[in-house]
Assembly symmetry: C2
């Protein structure tokens, strides 16, 4: 039985589900930062997924990446599966802007997050549901 890691739950908003992954928005309004988490138990590395699951995983990452570049304005997409702190497999998709607080360094561990206003999260969730998760 899959259970989302408590730290991920605390730091993110649930945006919905793809076939394999749960889609989360990280609660840091300084970046455009989504996280994919395969809803599978006891997986810490991408290569532990089956070939069929990996195909789904990268397809969902691709759809998210393409949609992010159309729906938000940023200069560079950072993709990363680190897991040094939270071992449950999760793949970061971070839209980076030249001159953002951590630019050009990595965002992880850089500085305290700046929370979203609730209305903005609801707007993003509506966009996600209409344009990304409901897409054929």
């Amino acid at each position: 039985m899959f259970k989302l890691d408590s730290r991920l739950q605390q730091d993110t908003f649930d945006m919905g589900r793809f076939s394999l992954c749960r889609l989360l928005l990280l609660n840091d309004s300084r970046y455009t930062w989504f996280v994919l988490v395969p809803e599978r138990e006891d997986i810490t590395e991408i290569h532990q997924l089956s070939a069929a699951e990996r195909a789904l995983f990268w397809d969902e990452s691709h759809r998210l990446s393409v949609w992010m570049t159309t729906a938000f304005a940023f200069d560079k997409l950072n993709l990363a599966a680190l897991g040094n702190v939270v071992s449950q497999l999760h793949l970061h998709h971070v839209g980076r802007r030249v001159g953002d607080p951590a630019w050009p360094g990595p965002v992880w561990g850089h500085s305290p997050a700046v929370s979203y206003a609730e209305a903005v999260v609801n707007d993003i969730r509506q966009l996600v549901q209409r344009d990304l998760l409901a897409a054929p």
Copy 2:
């Protein structure tokens, strides 16, 4: 005509080629750190690759990841495509050990690299050629 970015060339050793990617060893002996670079011109984001190229890209990343976990001792694999400094698409595969210099933070920008001895690079290249790139 593909040309490896000069910064990547300077910081790495050429280990050989998969079908799509050039395989590099980052010159920092404190980590087990390989980099895949698709030999395609003017690509900065994974989602700019074609569907067929992405399938190859993730297959080569999978083969590298599985092989790294058998050939080296580390606790966590970090996968990342950042590109904030070097825009040419490249995918980091970093074997992390609990207590390594940057642990549990990210390795990028943490501290100056510690170069390999030439003999060690040659040993790793032999392993790569025999067990990874020559595999069926």
